[in-house]
Each structure stands twice: as structure tokens, then as C-alpha cells.
Symmetry: C2
Subunit: 354 residues, 2 copies
DNA sequence: TGAAATCGGTGTAACGATGCACTGACCATA
DNA sequence: TATGGTCAGTGCATCGTTACACCGATTTCA
């Protein structure tokens, strides 16, 4: 059963391969309706599907979009990857999956390899402040969409970002805790040297200051810089933070803003290790609103990222802008996060702390 | 900056493109050491990387392995996909990701598309008892590795399976609950019409019978057949099951074997809705041992699948057997699952049930 | 010593799709 | 009736790599 090629279709339709090619590439104005119909019929009858490799070889592009995430093992990234695949499928594209493990060098290598393999659209979930490590590929024409990393002042013009407003998110989360009467609020994160993380942190600081509180007075977890954990181990960060913060009860917070839900969940687990109850003893708020936030006991309050919408935006920016040959400069999007209040945040305990 | 092709390398090394091609394809016995060295040097100096599209067009194969999972949005599949990517990377392959949503038709379409796009190795995470829907592609030479679905008697010869022994898993889980004194144990699952699920169920039945108990006497959850939920919504199944099973307290179990951790977690959430406490009131055991099992409150007892090992096996079967042109018939693997006891399972409450 | 085998390497025709330059046929205008 | 302009469609070279057939120069051995 030999492959059916464009020649077979041409023969069956009584035209030349060129005409079939024109048909396939939407240059249909160049032919009369009857021809179009004959070609259509021939394609259907023979079950013809264009050969990707040949197309790619000829015009140097794939219909594939590259997706570079820190790790699909992390439920948040898994969920995002899922949405990306769904959105790409709807536009007739496949998704090539890469896990960077948040290693800039791996990011660079993946982006370069994808580029050299003809992938012209990449959704890069990076947290690095600078895109220097991939800028030379961008200059050559890569359509890069960064996710979870808002556009930065000195990003190349063509780069599009899809992200929530992390600063607002940090503020909303912190404000929520303040409204519940908390005045001792810690911020728990792994390494903060990333665009979105520092934005969330700034939001936290802003909200505290707006309430007349000083960040310096808050319990600090200093383990964050030492963190060498990847995204899969995000929960370990939270667990360690709980252990450390409550080692000295006089310095213990009554509430915590965690950098994401996995870390928040790890923190909750750490509290449990210490015999403390989430909500009643310590309020915990996370980021992302992964499925498990709602499943947890107690259900976790979280700042939601609308990943379905974000994935659709990312994919359409990556693919459709590609077809227009960058006619428009591309528009970065900064979505408003949404606070989802559940039971892990409660009023500050009125009784004196032990 | 034009692409550097095999011709450039040939010219730089003072040989013909054919020789460079021979070099690249490990037919190095056909040339003298000095030539080999010159080619090596030229490749290094020019930074030559073979063009995948051209290679694929020429010999009809990719270096890509297809991965079809129900949904990477489910943490278990996300974690597995991660391990697969890591293992594939180590062997120099990329991973093309597809979500079947457990829809046989989508499975078929994905497998066919991958095949037609030159992908010759696919890891298919399916639960369907029959592989008929993809058998014609297998006959054409696809190397198919099924995961989470043990080999079936009438599978095509060339198909390799990587799975845990689900029957044993079901037995181990159930035996654990029996040892804790439970005699009213329900089995909670979405649609059971899948190989691994029914094996787990049989294991559950076997363990009960071995203990002199009758499955018919156990509380039954009948919602399972009606379930139309996908893998992302697995938790919903558990939640619904809890609601239904405890609607009639006289029929309520003291322990539950859930088909997987997500469903178990959903069940725990459902118990919470009802004001019941996991462990103390009702013991819950899951399958898979996803990261979140350990994070949960209480930490979830689970039957572990060694996914790192399994992913490595799957990838090496998919890729390396490919290179040997099926010299050996391929060996299916049935790994022994491991029970991980945590705190969601406790002794049956001695007090009379309400 | 002559025929055959081996060695190290080359020439060439594909793989399938594409897009530019082109060709007739037809129509409109001067 | 020349001239020019559309229109519908075609021919061909090309993308980068590979496998097969082939070639000249040694070496082997009967």
C-alpha cells in the first residue's frame, strides 16, 4: 500500500501537481470551480494527506508548535500543556513537548533545536528576566510566545507574552489576608529570581505597605534563595518553609502567601507535621488554582490563572500570527487574576497564640 | 546565515556528500581513519546538524516518539509524560504529545496521523481491551508500546506492554484493608470497561473471597457505569461516589479501594463534604502514588506505580527495538506494584457506626 | 600472471511538495 | 487587426539526505 502523493491526486483529477498544490495552499482563486471540485473529490476518494516532511523540507517550516515548560510533572504545567494541546489541535497543529526543568541552558538548547528542526512557533514558559539566551533565534524569525512571564522592557519587539498580572495577584492575595485581620504574613517561595515571582512578591509588599505595615516586620523565610528545587519539588519548598518558620514560635506568621499551589500544599503538609491546622491555626493562600486546590482538605484559597483562556491565546498568537508573516506587531496580554476563596484562609485566631 | 548542509561538510572535508552520509549513518567501516577524522573536524567546525525533514522525507522515518496519554492535565499522566520526555531525551529523541481523552476514535486518529507523519514508535496509554482500532497500522510496521494496559492474548505479536500487575495491586490494597479489620469495603471507579481497571477490580474480588467474604455483600457504587468523566475529572467520580454511598448510612462502607489517586482524593473530598474524616471514619486507598498522595491531609495510602522505571522501559522498547528492526520479539513487562501505607487507612472504628 | 575480490569512495536518482516563470486561450481596446 | 491584459493552468528546478550502482586502484590467490 504505497503512499498517495500529490501526483496521484493530480492524475485522478486530470490536472497537474502544481494545480493541486495551489488548491492545497488556498490559492483557489486561480482555478475554475469545476477544477476545484474535481480536486476535492480526488483528495477525498484517495484519502490523500500531504506529506509533512516534504512540505517542511520545501519551505522550511513545520506545522508543529514547540512547548517548553519547566516540567509537565507539575500539575499546573500538566494542566497547561493539556490546554495547549487542545487549542493547537483545533488549529490543526501538533505539539512538541520539552521540559526545561527551569534550566536556562536547557531552554536555550531546546529552542535552538526546535528552530533548526523547522519549528517556527514556540510557547516558552520561562521565568528568566532576560531572553538573551534565545534572542539570536528570535532575530532569525522565531515567533516566540512567553507564558507566565510578562513582557519586559527590553524584550525583542516580536515577542508576545501571555500572563496574568502577578503584581495584582500578589496584592489581591495579601489584601485578602489583611481583611481577615492577619498582620503577620509571610511570603513563601523558592528562588525568587524570576519575573513573575518577584512581581508576586512586589504585590505582596505593596499590599502590606498600603495597609501601613512594613515588610521588614514580617516573618521572613530565608530558605528561598538556597532552594535548588525544580518544579516537581515545589511542594518540598513549602514543607521546608513551614518547618523553618515555626521553629521559632515567636516569629511564626498567622498567614502565608505561597508562590504557587504546589508550594502552598507542601506548606500545609508541613503545618500538619507540626500539629497545626490549616485555616484555624494558620491561613494559607496559593497561586494558580490547580484542580487539587479544591480537592484539598481544607480546600485551598488561591489566585486563579485562567489557563484555558491563556492557552488559547498563546496558541493563536503562536500559530496565527505566523501565517500573517508578522503583519501586526503582536499583542501581549496581561490578564487579571481572580481570587478564589476557600477554607484555607480564616479570620486571625482571636485567642493569643501559644 | 544560510543553513549548513551535508554538501558544505563534504566540501570542507574534501570528500563527496555520499561519504559524509556514510559517516553519519555509522557505515564508517567503509572509510579510512584519516577521512573519518577530516569529516569529524569539518562537522565540528561548521556546526553541522543534519536536516530532519530531509532525512525523514528520504527514508520515511522520524526520530520522534509519539506519546498518547488520556490527558496530561491529570497529575499521574503529567508525571508519566515528564519521565517519558526525560528518557527519550537521553536517547536523542523528541516526544510528540497527544491527549486522547480516552476516546477510542481520537486514539485511532492520533496513531494514524503520527504514522503518516513518519513516527514509527508510539507509546500508547490506552485502556481498551482490544487494539483493533490501530491494528492495521501495527501490521504496516508500527512499533507500539502500550502502557498501563498489560498484554492481552490476542494482541498483535509485535506489541509490547509495560504495566504493573493490576490484579496483584487490587489484592494488595484490599488485603491491607482486611488486615485493618475492615469487612465492608467498597470499590470506587469510573467506567470499569478497561483492562487495568477490571484487573484491579478482580484483584479486589479475589482478596475478598480469599478472606471468606462475598463481593455481593459489599456496598456497591452503581454510578460507575454512567460515568462519562475523563481523566481530568477523575476526582469528580470519587466525590460523587462518596455522596452516593453515604446517602444510605446502613449501606455505607468503612473502607474504600479507589481506582486511582485522583478518584481517591475526590472521594476524600466527598467525605469531607459529609463531615466524615478520612482514616478515622473511613479508610481510603488509592492507586498510582502520585506526588499529591503524600501531600494530602491525611497522607493517602496508595499502590505505587514505579513510573520512572516504567517510562524508561517504555521508551527503550519503543526506540531501541526500532533500531534493531525487530530482531527480538520484544518483551512485555509486568511490574510488581508496591503498597505505600500512609494515614488514610486505619483500623476499623471499634465504636458502632452511627 | 591473470582473474577475482576487496577497499575507499563517488555519481545520481529519487523522496513529495512548492512556487516562479511561463504558456496558450480568450477578451477588450484603439 | 494589432496590441495588451487577464485567466486558468502547467513545467521544472529545488529543498537536504540517502541508497544503490558503480569505479579505479590495490591486493589476493589459484
Amino acid at each position: 500500500m504505497a503512499r498517495v502523493t500529490i501526483q496521484h491526486v493530480a492524475q485522478a483529477a486530470g490536472v497537474s501537481p502544481s494545480t493541486v498544490s495551489n488548491f492545497l495552499n488556498d490559492r483557489q482563486g486561480r482555478m475554475v470551480a469545476a477544477t476545484r471540485a474535481r480536486i476535492e473529490a480526488a483528495i477525498a476518494e484517495l484519502g490523500y494527506r500531504p506529506n509533512r516532511a516534504a512540505r517542511q523540507l520545501r519551505n522550511g517550516k513545520t506545522q508543529t508548535v514547540g512547548l517548553v515548560v519547566p516540567s509537565v510533572g507539575n500539575p499546573f504545567w500538566g494542566a497547561f500543556a493539556h490546554e495547549v494541546e487542545v487549542a493547537a489541535l483545533a488549529l490543526g497543529c501538533s505539539v512538541l513537548l520539552c521540559n526545561s526543568e527551569r534550566d536556562p541552558e536547557r531552554e536555550r538548547r531546546y529552542v535552538e533545536e526546535l528552530w533548526e528542526d523547522g519549528v517556527r512557533s514556540i510557547i516558552l514558559c520561562t521565568s528568566l528576566p532576560s531572553l538573551d539566551h534565545v534572542s539570536h533565534v528570535i532575530e532569525e524569525g522565531l515567533r516566540l510566545v512567553t507564558f507566565d512571564r510578562p513582557a519586559q522592557p527590553n524584550d525583542p519587539q516580536s515577542v508576545v507574552s501571555i500572563s496574568i498580572d502577578n503584581n495584582v495577584g500578589g496584592q489581591v492575595a495579601t489584601a485578602h489576608l489583611l481583611e481577615l485581620g492577619h498582620t503577620s504574613i509571610a511570603f513563601v517561595s523558592g528562588s525568587i529570581r524570576s519575573v513573575n515571582r518577584s512581581a508576586r512578591y512586589r504585590g505582596y509588599c505593596d499590599a502590606l505597605e498600603a495597609a501601613g505595615l512594613s515588610v521588614a516586620d514580617m516573618p521572613q523565610w530565608t530558605g528561598m534563595d538556597a532552594s535548588h528545587f525544580g518544579d516537581v519539588e515545589a511542594a518540598e519548598v513549602g514543607r521546608a518553609a513551614a518547618r523553618d518558620l515555626f521553629a521559632d514560635p515567636t516569629n511564626a506568621p498567622t498567614a502565608v502567601v505561597a508562590i504557587n499551589d504546589m508550594t502552598a500544599l507542601g506548606f500545609c503538609r508541613g503545618l500538619r507535621d507540626l500539629g497545626l491546622k490549616v485555616g484555624r491555626d494558620v491561613s494559607v493562600i496559593g497561586f494558580d488554582d490547580i484542580i487539587l486546590a479544591d480537592l484539598y482538605d481544607p480546600p485551598l484559597t488561591s489566585v486563579r490563572q485562567p489557563i484555558t483562556r491563556m492557552a488559547q491565546l498563546a496558541v493563536s498568537e503562536a500559530i496565527e500570527r505566523g501565517s500573517n508573516e508578522s503583519t501586526d506587531p503582536g499583542s501581549s496580554v496581561l490578564l487579571r487574576p481572580e481570587l478564589v476563596v476557600r477554607e484555607s484562609t480564616e479570620h486571625v485566631p482571636s485567642a493569643a497564640r501559644p
